[in-house]
């Protein structure tokens, strides 16, 4: 159950990647998104691959583990690739079978879109695997601070985010327990007509919903009991500050971006 979806599951570690300031990590991802869409030849893509896999290597999180977590996404990547392969008709025909022509441009387009998707997902997964959810929300709150001027509820949004992230693994465990309890009572949602299978989801969803509501209620009560009253007068337990690693990362990032820009045509 919780073995195929790993996004949102923090893997504790002591690596350089773990130690980078979460604000910097978010900024890097943001820059990377732009860079991915600016890549326009083979070598610029190669350098993006290099960037991503160097980050993965530095994080010391097993590549196999990250790939396993991508299972649900593989299909989307493959379908995207196929889609472009068959509808784009620029350049020369490379192969043709069953009356369908595959063009040069189609291959390049398909490959580059799939690559963009793939790299973004890996980097985003890496972020969640190497950063505690709390750190991510702290960073979001810090980066969005300017929006407070226009009365955007930054603190509340950040709090909601951190609570949701915190409860993803709990939710998964709960789901696992419930589906086991119902399987023990003979529930079988792997067989039968589609309609029956949907019906078989009810015994899973209802207990899950009920326990989530109960959890939310308990949490709200516990927060109130400890005097939570929104942002007013609240100080931070964890102060974010840049360290030596962050400056080194920034310099490497600049070097990378400059060379990336030069490689492009």
């Amino acid at each position: 159950m919780n073995q195929s979806l790993i996004i949102g599951q923090y893997v504790p570690g002591e690596s350089v990647v773990h130690k980078i300031d979460p604000r910097l990590k978010l900024i890097i991802i943001f820059i990377f998104v732009i860079a991915v869409f600016m890549a326009n030849n083979i070598w610029s893509y190669v350098s993006l691959y290099f960037f991503v896999f160097a980050s993965v290597a530095l994080s010391r999180i097993p590549v196999a583990y990250i790939f396993k977590g991508l299972k649900p996404v593989w299909w989307i990547i493959i379908i995207t690739f196929m889609f472009h392969l068959f509808i784009n008709s620029g350049g020369n025909v490379i192969v043709s079978f069953l009356g369908i022509n595959v063009y040069e441009q189609g291959v390049f387009q398909g490959a580059s879109i799939a690559t963009r998707f793939f790299l973004l997902i890996i980097l985003a997964t890496l972020l969640t695997l190497s950063t505690t959810p709390i750190a991510v929300t702290d960073a979001v709150e810090a980066l969005l601070k300017p929006l407070k001027k226009v009365r955007f509820p930054v603190h509340e949004i950040a709090l909601m985010m951190s609570i949701s992230l915190r409860f993803i693994p709990t939710f998964m465990q709960e789901m696992d327990k419930i589906s086991k309890a119902q399987a023990a009572r003979g529930l079988d949602y792997t067989k039968g007509k589609l309609k029956d299978r949907f019906k078989a989801l009810l015994p899973l969803l209802i207990p899950l919903l009920i326990s989530s509501f109960k959890r939310a209620e308990d949490l709200a009560l516990a927060m109130e009991a400890r005097g939570y009253q929104g942002e007013e007068g609240r100080t931070k337990l964890r102060q974010l500050s840049f360290s030596k690693i962050d400056y080194i990362v920034i310099i490497s990032l600049i070097v990378f971006l400059v060379s990336f820009y030069m490689i492009r045509v």
């Binding site: 709960e174 419930i178 309890a181 009572r185 003979g186 067989k191 207990p207």
Partner: protein, 288 residues
């Protein structure tokens, strides 16, 4: 049906940074019609072991024989028949209640296993009585019930599916003392009158010693020992070493020996042997 574990290992989330081996080289046998208790410190693998008994988990390596079915490698139909023959009562019943009424809740298991629901409905009242619930709960929503009542509903729903093996994960936790005793009596009578095999996980050593024929002691995923209650009372130090309680009577006898200087010559420890020894000791004290 006999249950045989042969060198069973089980690892949660294998090949990930979170992988955790919860069962290590487990070999044991649970004879058809026996009453065994599984005890162990928290996290020792009791629940993991239990979930193997109705194929919710399958050995990562090793072999598990459940009657005429062998795991791993059983096909879908065989697993479904195992789920019917082995009833598993979970630690937290609120994880499984979902219907609008208790009645529907009770019929859920039998329906899944393809029972004749007309027939099952005639048995509802008896089974409610068996687990200690009023008939009036039938039309109530299961979510309005107290924790103890939910547990009883879950138990009744399991019993209605007519399992041969009852697997119970801390069934009495959260019940009042009288309720605990009654529920244990129910398991005992199911065992004695209907020849059900009972596998009971409990933190209560007194219960384990009183009701079980064999006690399986787990320690950090391995079988520490399998002993009958009368053998186990001599293992006080070993049990303490792995973080387990010793039953009160055993503690009492130890106390008599150490503090009162009582000479203990009996094999078993129960009310009779204790009072006999005390009488002997007091008489001896009077004459000397």
């Amino acid at each position: 049906m006999d249950i045989i574990f042969e060198n069973v290992n089980y690892t949660y989330q294998p090949n990930t940074p979170f992988s955790h081996q919860a069962l290590k080289d487990i070999s044991l046998e649970i004879k058809s019609g026996s009453f065994v208790a599984v005890v162990g410190h928290t996290g020792s693998g009791k629940s993991t072991l239990l979930q193997h008994l109705n194929a919710l988990l399958q050995p990562t390596s090793g072999r598990l024989v459940l009657g005429n079915v062998e795991l791993p490698g059983a096909h879908h139909e065989q697993i479904k028949s195992i789920r019917q023959r082995v009833g598993l009562l979970f630690q937290y019943p609120e994880h499984q209640l979902f219907e609008e009424t208790v009645k529907k809740e009770l019929l859920f298991g039998p329906k899944n296993f393809g029972f004749d629901l007309k027939q099952v409905e005639t048995e509802l009242n008896d089974s409610l009585q068996e687990v200690g619930l009023e008939e009036s709960v039938l039309d109530r929503s299961p979510f309005e019930l107290s924790g103890g009542q939910m547990k009883r509903v879950a138990l009744a729903s399991m019993l209605l599916a007519k399992p041969q093996v009852l697997v119970l994960d801390e069934p009495t936790a959260g019940l009042d003392p009288l309720g605990q005793k009654k529920m244990m009596q129910l398991f005992k009578s199911l065992h004695e009158n209907k020849q059900h095999t009972v596998v009971l996980v409990t933190h209560n050593m007194d219960d384990a010693m009183r009701y079980a024929e064999k006690v399986i002691v787990l320690n950090q995923g391995t079988v520490e020992c399998v002993k009958s209650p009368s053998e186990l009372i001599h293992e006080r130090d070993r049990l303490k070493a792995i973080g387990l309680d010793v039953p009160e009577p055993v503690e009492f006898v130890e106390y008599m020996k150490a503090r009162l200087g009582v000479l203990w010559e009996e094999e078993d420890i129960n009310e009779q042997t204790i009072s006999r020894t005390l009488v002997k000791h007091l008489k001896g004290g009077a004459t000397s």
